[in-house]
């Protein structure tokens, strides 16, 4: 799809009329702008003066550019750095582990000669049909595994997606010729060797797609923090953002800057509104900056039919 966007449109004699083309163009232009405006608003508020925001409200054109909000955030750099640390650790550990575990599960059930293939396929497939619900699931992680306030509670629950395991299995089945596997076996290669030296290198497209989805899932996750994290030590970036939006005082009460001001008996109020939006930018930033680079791989992954059971 990258090379030929259109088929019906590729024929110059069968193109839409210039008027229709212009209308479609303008329509998409407006929609695209509408998609980007909300992000722009957040950027602009984070760069505004707190007093202006309080009197005029959130505005696309600030009276003056003011970096106070970011200065406040960076005096509290420990919390931000800590949260980035949590998010980055969870994302990297989670993506690597989940890719390995899912591929290792997908390979045996892709092999038609494996006698228990049907059972293990059903074993994972059934989890897509029925689930126990939030309460028993929570009790397993908190009461049985004792993972409350543990960073692994943010990694483990997202490790295996039945859907992706089946996607990987289908890819193994449809792209890796059985002849290659048999030849390797005759040459005396062990199953592990075959898996790591032959199967995975041939499956990079699907593994890359799954890894990308998994990275975004881990990076964007706040639900696991909401359920399992009760202390303030293991706050991921998303959860920190959530807490700040819900409770305007959250960062203010935890901030070094604010406590220093209070200790000095100062009257400077914490620039809540702008700091909150600056915090949002810290959370949105990495995704938006990385987006142009990873976007096309998602489109490719979805369109080659890799992500389809």
């Amino acid at each position: 799809m990258q090379t030929e966007m259109s088929k019906s449109g590729s024929n110059p004699f069968n193109a839409i009329s210039p008027t229709a083309n212009t209308i479609i163009n303008i329509g998409f232009m407006l929609y695209t702008i509408a998609c980007l405006l909300p992000i722009l608003l957040i950027v602009m508020v984070s760069l505004s003066n707190e007093q202006d925001v309080l009197t005029k409200g959130y505005s696309f054109i600030p009276n003056q550019i003011d970096f106070t909000a970011y200065k406040f955030l960076f005096t509290d750099w420990q919390q931000i750095l800590r949260s980035y640390g949590v998010t980055i650790f969870v994302t990297i550990a989670g993506t690597i582990l989940s890719l390995i575990i899912m591929a290792l599960y997908a390979y045996p059930i892709s092999r038609t000669d494996f006698p228990h293939r049907k059972f293990f396929t059903f074993f994972i497939f059934f989890t897509m049909l029925f689930n126990g619900g939030l309460v028993p699931w929570y009790l397993v992680y908190v009461n049985m595994l004792n993972l409350r306030d543990n960073i692994w509670a943010l990694v483990l629950p997202l490790l295996v997606s039945a859907f992706f395991v089946l996607v990987i299995r289908t890819f193994f089945q449809s792209t890796i010729p059985v002849a290659i596997l048999e030849a390797a076996k005759i040459d005396g290669a062990s199953e592990m060797l075959i898996f790591f030296r032959i199967v995975t290198p041939l499956s990079l497209p699907v593994l890359a797609t799954v890894a990308l989805f998994s990275t975004v899932n881990y990076w964007n996750d706040w639900f696991l923090s909401l359920v399992f994290i009760t202390d303030d030590k293991t706050l991921s970036i998303q959860y920190l953002m959530y807490k700040m939006l819900l409770n305007i005082q959250f960062l203010a009460s935890n901030s070094n800057a604010a406590s220093a001001i209070a200790a000095a008996g100062g009257q400077v109020s914490f620039p809540n509104e702008t700091v909150r939006m600056a915090m949002a930018i810290m959370g949105i930033g990495p995704i938006v900056f990385a987006y142009p680079f990873f976007q096309k791989y998602f489109v490719k992954g979805l369109t080659v039919g890799a992500v389809k059971g």
């Binding site: 799809m1 966007m5 259109s6 088929k7 019906s8 590729s10 024929n11 069968n14 839409i16 479609i24 163009n25 998409f28 232009m29 929609y31 695209t32 998609c35 608003l41 957040i42 309080l54 409200g57 575990i101 290792l104 599960y105 390979y107 045996p108 059930i109 092999r111 494996f114 293990f120 897509m128 049909l129 029925f130 689930n131 126990g132 619900g133 939030l134 309460v135 028993p136 397993v140 595994l145 629950p157 490790l159 295996v160 199953e191 990076w219 964007n220 639900f223 998303q238 939006l245 819900l246 509104e273 939006m277 959370g283 949105i284 995704i287 987006y291 976007q295 489109v299 979805l302 369109t303």
Partner: protein, 304 residues
């Protein structure tokens, strides 16, 4: 083949699958067995296993409250509106992107439309908040002023959210479905269009009688897959975006948020797990039915 030779030959496969099996047991199968707590009156003095059985009392209590009806209605109505919008808007977008003459612009638009899909619901709630906050939000301080209207308390107005949530959901997911439909359109053989032009079909006629009919299997499959999940709501959308505003609960409370709130906030294990099991069972039946239909349309797209 006997079990012993099986094990000798394939033991390494069992080792490879062990981490996954372990995960599924803890993350999925033990919680499935754990649904029995919906039939118990769990108290921490007796422990979960020794708590007394109350059988259907939790369910009786759940369905006596007005909540059961409200959360079921909200979940179903919102999901149905999402499914309809997720069908019409992305198909229209895909057809238009495909017809655009400037391919570079088409790619640019597609990329921007897809961006929302990658934003977390926390970020989405910030974006909405920037517009809807009652004293600072852009809508109240600017748009309502230009229109000469009184500012509204958006997070208290129940009338607005049934329209707002489908718009937000569509905005977030349209990119994903557009990519899928666009791929299907590109897969349509050129010959159909050539034949249609020779017959003198206009562009509009081609879309009506070539593109859409050939897109139908994809539309049906993607829609049925969503119908299978019609009893499960997007927790993030209903939890984050309305910012847990109490007055909005009649129009924003769905099964998933109800289960979460009765359990985590109110600590009512019995009621919450009863609602959870109700969702799982009805959801299971719906997945089964929708998959049965998918099989009849396109065997390869069926889940099972």
């Amino acid at each position: 083949m006997t079990l012993a030779t099986n094990m000798r030959r394939y033991w390494i496969f069992y080792v490879m699958m062990a981490p996954g099996v372990l995960f599924l047991i803890f993350n999925n199968y033990i919680p499935m067995l754990g649904t029995v707590i919906a039939f118990k009156n769990v108290n921490y003095a007796d422990g979960i296993i020794n708590s007394p059985w109350v059988w259907f009392d939790n369910f009786k209590y759940l369905f006596k409250t007005s909540d059961a009806w409200i959360i079921t209605r909200n979940t179903l109505l919102y999901n149905i509106s999402f499914i309809i919008l997720n069908m019409i808007v992305p198909v229209a977008f895909a057809i238009m992107l495909n017809e655009m003459k400037n391919k570079l612009m088409a790619k640019f638009h597609q990329a921007v439309i897809f961006l929302a899909y990658f934003l977390s619901m926390v970020v989405v709630s910030y974006l909405v908040y920037g517009f809807l906050h009652d004293t600072h939000g852009f809508v109240n301080t600017s748009i309502m002023k230009w229109l000469g209207l009184e500012p509204l308390q958006w997070y208290f107005e129940t009338k607005i959210w049934p329209f707002l949530l489908p718009i937000i959901n569509t905005w977030k997911n349209v990119g994903y479905y557009t990519v899928l439909y666009l791929a299907a359109i590109i897969g349509i053989d050129d010959e159909y269009y050539e034949a249609a032009t020779i017959d003198g079909a206009s562009k509009w006629q081609q879309i009506k009688s070539v593109t859409i009919p050939l897109l139908m299997p994809t539309i049906i499959v993607l829609t049925l897959l969503q119908i299978g999940r019609v009893f499960y709501a997007d927790f993030g959308l209903f939890f984050q975006v309305p910012r847990e505003s109490g007055p909005l609960f009649p129009v924003t409370n769905v099964i998933d948020t109800y289960v979460y709130r009765t359990f985590i906030a109110m600590g009512d294990i019995g009621l919450s797990s009863a609602a959870g099991l109700y969702q799982s069972l009805v959801g299971f039946i719906l997945v089964f039915l929708s998959n049965w239909f998918v099989r009849r349309v396109d065997k390869d797209s069926a889940l099972f």
